[in-house]
């Protein structure tokens, strides 16, 4: 197809999740991402939605994941960590730029005093 070389288009929630992963760097696992999204965007999403999206993004090749060590704090259970792949960073960048380009010159109207 013609647009194969371009980065995958991202949904709104996918963008939030990817931004969460980027922001949390080495500490990006489900609960942390959920809390980050809640704290910053105000959206109180459920953990299953976060993991379903992470799983989908991983299937698209935008993310990679690995399991951490079990910790006592979580009843001896492991965490699943995520990090962006280059294609993920590219997709996020493209979405960000698109948003920026579309919003250019509208800052005043989007941030009413």
């Amino acid at each position: 197809m013609w647009f194969k070389s371009k980065a995958a288009a991202l949904g709104d929630f996918e963008q939030l999740v990817l931004l969460g992963v980027l922001r949390l760097a080495d500490d990006a696992y489900g609960a942390a991402i959920r809390q980050e999204i809640h704290a910053r965007s105000g959206r109180d999403v459920s953990i299953n939605a976060v993991y379903t999206t992470l799983d989908r993004l991983e299937a698209k090749g935008l993310l990679r994941s690995w399991a951490g060590e079990p910790t006592a704090q979580r009843g001896g259970r492991r965490r699943k960590f995520y990090a962006l792949n280059p294609s993920g960073t590219a997709a996020l960048r493209q979405a960000y730029h698109a948003m920026q380009a579309m919003a250019d010159g509208l800052e005043e109207r989007l941030n009413p005093k």
């Binding site: 696992y29 489900g30 609960a31 959920r34 809390q35 459920s46 953990i47 299953n48 939605a49 993991y51 379903t52 799983d55 991983e58 299937a59 399991a67 079990p70 910790t71 704090q73 979580r74 009843g75 259970r77 492991r78 965490r79 699943k80």
Partner: protein, 879 residues
């Protein structure tokens, strides 16, 4: 103590999450829970529950290896997405979804209601241990003298011989019924009791809920002891836990309660367990020696490993031996065993299966209708479907998509149908309780639930498969090429016509069934019974031994009662008989003409014997053919029916001749004083030869009194009861009713069958006409252009009308022809259920076919009229 997340929520999650997500999700939730619990434990718990519920509803997908994910459609995932899509579509167009679900709900609901009765009556085992090994024992009477009778009651001596000589049974008990009068508790109350032999409770293997059953010595000593039913214990003893040991007074004698049976023992469908109480059946030596008088029932249990055939053979062999040993009493009398279940269910099986078949036809018609609706929608959505196909959805995928839609609708219909069935059962079960054995036990149980689920799935497939196949076959290119015209008439119209044919054919079969049943009911109502039931009031009365110990006292009592009743204003005549016609039962006895030798039972003719008062024949308006009616002063005398006169005397005039009834007395020859018309014992059977016997004194006390009234018999009921009670308030007056109602009551199951079939047929007719109407409307809409052009080219209104009418009538006519063929084929199944009319009655078929044709015309008229009113200008401009 640190708070823990709600344990139930954790286990729910553990159950729902796939292993690969288990740790991560639970760990995350617990981690955040701990943080939240630090500020507020309850809020944290609520939060945990919200998260858990959302996770359980839609857990993160268990991953097949990632590279497999895109492209291929795992069945479950596409199924879920189809279900979601279907729900969205239905929420967008609720009227369509509601209409379809409602039609299916009615269909499934009716099927479920009938099935729940079938379940209770035919499928659920009887409430006894090992019910399959319970059999009832019968004599088989000689066919030469008891024509048409397959079974007969037992005599004590024969029963005892069977019990002694047989090896097939694990216990055998005789029983019969007696009427007791409960006194000392305000008004006298008649109570029916079963007198049961020693093995009765042992055979049924049901222990009492309270106290004990009878001890062996209580069967010999004529002990006054009772076992009560749960119902009587509740209604008369207030369910007192200390009921055992109390004394109840019946006919002036004290009876001690020794036990109470559990509720489940009171099986309504079998006389021996329906009664409110049981007493021991104790035979004196004299009674036990009676061989020729057959007045007892028997229940037995087959030994483990013994099958029915072997038991029957054994009874036949023993009976043969008894025939040889006692030819005077037993010649021609065989023996047989019939499973209790079969006797209880009996004729009802055929009737219920017929109804189940009929209601299934209604569901099929509903499926055809719904299939039509789904197809219409699929055709309207051909664009959408074609685009899906263009984007790579295979035929299977499109098929699945549409099928899922119809399954979702069927599931909704099934759920609503279950509710409808519950309501119907609630209303209907108690009505049916008297007519259909065990119908009152009909409930929604696991089996009925399974039935609903299966019926819903099947319905979804039936209704959805044809349209889904049809839509999946739609040619992609044609559809897309059609451009703006989304109304091509050709698409799917063949399928739609086929559905109409099916609907009409099935409707015709149902209408035919209902028509035949109605005609049969009509025929039964108009049977000439041989007496006139109009304006006759009847009631049952029992002059008990306790109050009127001698036969003379009884006779005098009833003479006085008759005098009082005849004196009542509005009473034209009054008489009594031991058994009234059409009420079932009554004595059948051999009869010997004076001067001839008594033959063995195989050859000695038998007659129905009715002991009656004077004026009985006049009261019932049974025609007096010759001779005279009984008079008050008569001693013993006979009236014989025409059939009995012919059977016994042939062409000789019987009046003045004498005969004996050996079972009553071999020495007393009684003179015939008159010949009367034949009277039917059962509406659907031949009138048996009958002897009316006027006795100079009365050896028994319970009779049925009949009064011919000037006006409405119900008006007289109160005065008649009052007149009797003024003479003796201690006697219970029972079953006060008009003779017409008594006859109508015997027709209840026929009425019920006819009513249900009428309802089903009406539903079928409505569905079929709606189907014809909607298909024609659709076809007309599709041919607007064509019709417009025809009109523009000079076609007249009548031409268009005719064209569209024919369009509708062609499939309807095919349906009628097919349905007629089907009805004739199915007639064999109905033949045993109808009376006075053949199940393939051509007149009924013609009427039904004509009615269906008229309905088809009516359903086609509106679309045809609309088509004829199309303005060619508008139509052609639009397209």
């Amino acid at each position: 103590m640190t708070p823990h997340p709600p344990r139930l929520a954790v286990s729910l999650l553990a159950w729902r999450l796939s292993p690969e997500w288990h740790d991560f999700v639970l760990g995350d939730l617990e981690e955040e829970f701990c943080v939240r619990a630090a500020s507020s434990a309850p809020a944290a718990r609520r939060w945990f529950w919200r998260q858990a519920i959302r996770c359980v509803a839609a857990p993160p997908p268990a991953s097949a290896p990632h590279h497999h994910r895109p492209g291929r459609d795992p069945f479950m995932r596409t199924l879920l997405s189809d279900v979601r899509h279907a729900l969205r579509v239905f929420i967008r167009t609720p009227s369509y979804a509601v209409a379809v679900a409602a039609v299916l709900a009615l269909g499934i609901g009716a099927n479920t209601a009938i099935f729940s009765i079938v379940n209770a009556v035919l499928l659920r085992p009887l409430p006894f241990e090992d019910p399959d090994t319970l059999v009832r024992l019968f004599h088989v009477p000689p066919q030469s003298t008891f024509p048409g009778m397959a079974t007969f009651s037992l005599s004590p001596a024969n029963f005892l011989d069977w019990q002694r000589d047989s090896q097939s049974f694990d216990g055998m008990a005789a029983y019969n019924f007696r009427q007791l009068t409960l006194t000392g508790n305000g008004a006298a109350e008649a109570v029916r009791a079963a007198a049961v032999g020693p093995d009765f409770f042992k055979v049924l293997r049901t222990p009492p809920a309270l106290g004990r059953t009878f001890l062996p010595e209580e069967f010999s000593a004529r002990a006054k002891v009772l076992v009560l039913s749960e119902g009587f214990w509740r209604s008369h003893l207030g369910a007192a836990p200390d009921a055992v040991g109390r004394t109840l007074t019946f006919d002036g004698e004290g009876y001690t309660v020794v036990g109470v049976m559990p509720r489940r023992f009171s099986l309504n469908a079998w006389g021996a367990t329906t009664v409110p109480m049981w007493t021991p059946l104790a035979w004196t030596d004299k009674q036990a020696a009676v061989r020729e008088n057959h007045n007892y029932q028997a229940i037995a249990r087959l030994k483990p490993g013994v099958d029915l055939a072997r038991a029957k053979t054994e009874l036949a062999v023993i009976s043969k031996r008894l025939e040889q040993a006692y030819p005077a009493e037993n010649a021609g009398w065989g023996g047989t065993a019939i499973p209790l279940q079969e006797l209880i269910v009996g004729d009802v099986r055929r009737s219920l299966m017929m109804l189940l078949g009929a209601v299934a036809l209604v569901l099929l018609i509903a499926c055809a209708n719904v299939g039509n609706l789904i197809l219409a929608r699929a055709m309207n959505r051909r664009k959408e479907i074609a685009i899906r196909a263009a984007l790579g959805a295979g035929r299977r995928r499109v098929f699945q998509h549409l099928l899922v839609e119809s399954l979702v609708l069927a599931a909704a219909g099934g759920a609503a149908g279950l509710l409808l069935a519950r309501l119907a059962i609630g209303a209907g079960a108690s009505l049916l309780a008297d007519q259909i054995p065990r119908a009152e036990e009909a409930t929604i149980d696991g089996r009925v639930l399974l039935f609903v689920i299966a019926a819903s799935i099947l319905t979804g497939f039936l209704a959805g498969a044809v349209p889904a196949l049809r839509a999946g076959r739609t040619d992609l290119n044609d559809t897309l090429k059609e451009g703006g015209r989304s109304d091509a008439a050709g698409a799917g119209s063949l399928t739609r016509r086929a559905l109409i044919v099916a609907e009409v054919a099935l409707s015709l079969m149902l209408l035919m069934g209902a028509g035949v049943m109605l005609r049969s009911l009509h025929a039964l109502r108009n049977v000439d019974t041989g007496f006139n039931p109009r304006n006759v009031l009847k009631l049952d009365l029992n002059a008990t031994d306790a109050r009127y110990p001698t036969p003379t006292q009884k006779k005098v009592f009833y003479d006085t009662v008759m005098d009082r009743l005849r004196a009542l204003p509005g009473v034209q005549a009054a008489g009594w008989a031991d058994t009234l016609p059409v009420t079932g039962g009554g004595s059948v006895q051999p009869m010997v003409i004076e001067g001839r030798a008594e033959l063995n039972p195989r050859e000695q003719p038998t007659v129905s014997v009715r002991v009656t008062s004077d004026e009985y024949v006049k009261t019932m308006q049974i025609p007096l053919l010759r001779g005279r009616d009984f008079r008050r002063g008569d001693g013993d005398a006979f009236l014989v029916s025409a059939a009995a006169a012919k059977l016994l005397w042939g062409d000789i005039d019987p009046i003045g001749r004498r005969a004996t009834l050996p079972l009553i007395s071999r020495t007393q020859a009684v003179e015939v004083v008159g010949v009367v018309g034949d009277v039917k014992e059962q509406l659907s059977e031949q009138a048996p030869p009958t002897i009316y016997y006027h006795m100079h004194e009365l050896p028994f006390g319970d009779v049925s009194i009949a009064m011919r009234t000037a006006g409405d018999p119900a008006q007289l009921a109160h005065a008649a009861v009052a007149a009797i009670q003024a003479m003796d308030a201690q006697l219970p007056v029972q079953n006060v009713d008009s003779m017409e109602d008594v006859i109508e009551e015997t027709l209840v199951s026929e009425r019920f069958r006819a009513l249900l079939l009428e309802v089903f047929a009406l539903a079928a007719l409505t569905l079929a006409s709606v189907g014809i109407y909607s298909v024609l409307s659709y076809l007309v809409r599709g041919r607007r252009r064509e019709i417009g052009i025809r009109t523009a080219l000079g076609a007249r209104t009548s031409d268009v009308l005719r064209m569209v009418l024919l369009e509708g009538l062609k499939p309807a006519l095919s349906g009628i022809v097919l349905g007629a063929a089907g009805a004739l084929l199915a007639a064999g199944l109905l033949e045993k259920l109808v009376f006075g009319v053949k199940a393939s009655d051509p007149l009924t078929l013609a009427i039904v076919a004509l009615a269906l044709l008229l309905v088809s015309v009516a359903a086609s008229l509106l679309p045809a009229w609309r088509a004829s009113k199309l303005d060619p200008l508008t139509v052609l401009r639009d397209s």
